[in-house]
Point group: C2
Chain length 217, copies 2
């Protein structure tokens, strides 16, 4: 019985990692779609989000099944409940990647971003891809040094989000109203993407250390 | 034993309703702060969000305790797992009310919203307050007619969100870049507020009917 349950918990971890890999791919492609005005890449991100959503549902069903059939306690229970939470965060990260891709698609063949914000968004996308990949690695290794780098990249995303506003609100800004709207939204999507990654990082830390995670504002 | 557990489930429901009442108050006050440029109201929403966050944590701890000690199955298990989900949605709704209040605070003593979008935001806030109050009522009564009205008000929020963009992107728009940014963000906050309310409504429907809830994009 215990052996089967161990295998089931292992499977839960594998499923989370697969979701996380898909999310990392999604944000990387969404970023390229946004920065290069690549329509087919944008379409593919939008289409693949359904797969991430399906994986969340399957993972949740599995968690509820495990709660019912195994009645886990202590660490096992924490793993199952945390998995429910982490799958929700990954699902939202997938949505946010899709939202970025939708901005790219809406303005195609024009690029959504004016030149003035391209450097900031390039950095923002690099940081988002990094956090997503590190979430995958953290789920694999539970190496808490990775959790720390995720927190740091999230701080960077917050800073770049502020920096975007700095560019948009400067007297030199010559973007159209549509560009202002798109830059504001896309920047917000990246900022939220980082928050969800941190939320996962804190849940993994909680599993490892037993210290309850603190939610971001 | 069963009697104690029944009382604990009852308490879980009461705690969710209290959270929901606080969220309804928060979005009502945040909307007034935004529309009337009322700084003290904005401050009070921002300060009270901590209380909502604390309630989520307490509710989650209680859910995990119940899972461990009662090992619920079937409907009871669904109630506990749904409570975990619904408390997360309510916590996010509280955050979004706080974000609206933060927009109001940032621009004080100026109102964040130019006249041209005030009618739309008035409707948006009315709809948001309605959905929050109906979530409270739905948690109390489990009357699925309320779930339907929440879905409809969410559709209205989506429509008003689009309408906001219509105003901002029209040739008549004379708002500053800062106003464009604030209107874009505040409108997005209301739109997400509605999504979370629908997510709760669907989870209650799931508890009543047994049909699995579908997440919004």
């Amino acid at each position: 019985m215990r052996e089967i349950f161990e295998a089931e918990l292992q499977q839960l971890g594998d499923d989370l990692r697969t979701m996380s890999e898909k999310v990392a791919q999604a944000i990387e492609d969404a970023g390229r779609a946004l920065l290069d005005a690549d329509l087919s890449l944008a379409q593919s991100v939008i289409a693949s989000d359904r797969d991430i959503d399906d994986r969340e549902r399957a993972l949740d069903d599995e968690c509820v099944r495990l709660l019912a059939q195994q009645a886990p306690v202590a660490t096992d229970l924490r793993i199952v409940v945390s998995s429910l939470r982490m799958s929700a965060s990954l699902e939202r990260m997938g949505d946010l990647a899709r939202h970025v891709a939708q901005v790219a698609r809406r303005t195609y063949p024009k690029r959504a971003l004016p030149e003035a914000v391209v450097p900031t968004f390039t950095q923002m996308n690099d940081a988002a891809v990094r956090v997503a990949r590190r979430v995958t690695e953290l789920l694999e290794t539970r190496d808490l040094a990775l959790a720390l780098t995720i927190e740091r990249d999230d701080d960077l995303l917050d800073l770049l989000h502020e920096q975007t506003f700095g560019v948009v609100l400067s007297p030199d800004w010559i973007g159209s109203v549509q560009e202002t709207v798109d830059v504001t939204l896309a920047s917000r999507f990246y900022e939220r993407f980082g928050d969800h990654a941190v939320s996962i990082a804190r849940r993994v830390s909680y599993l490892v250390t037993g210290d309850a995670p603190v939610e971001l504002g």
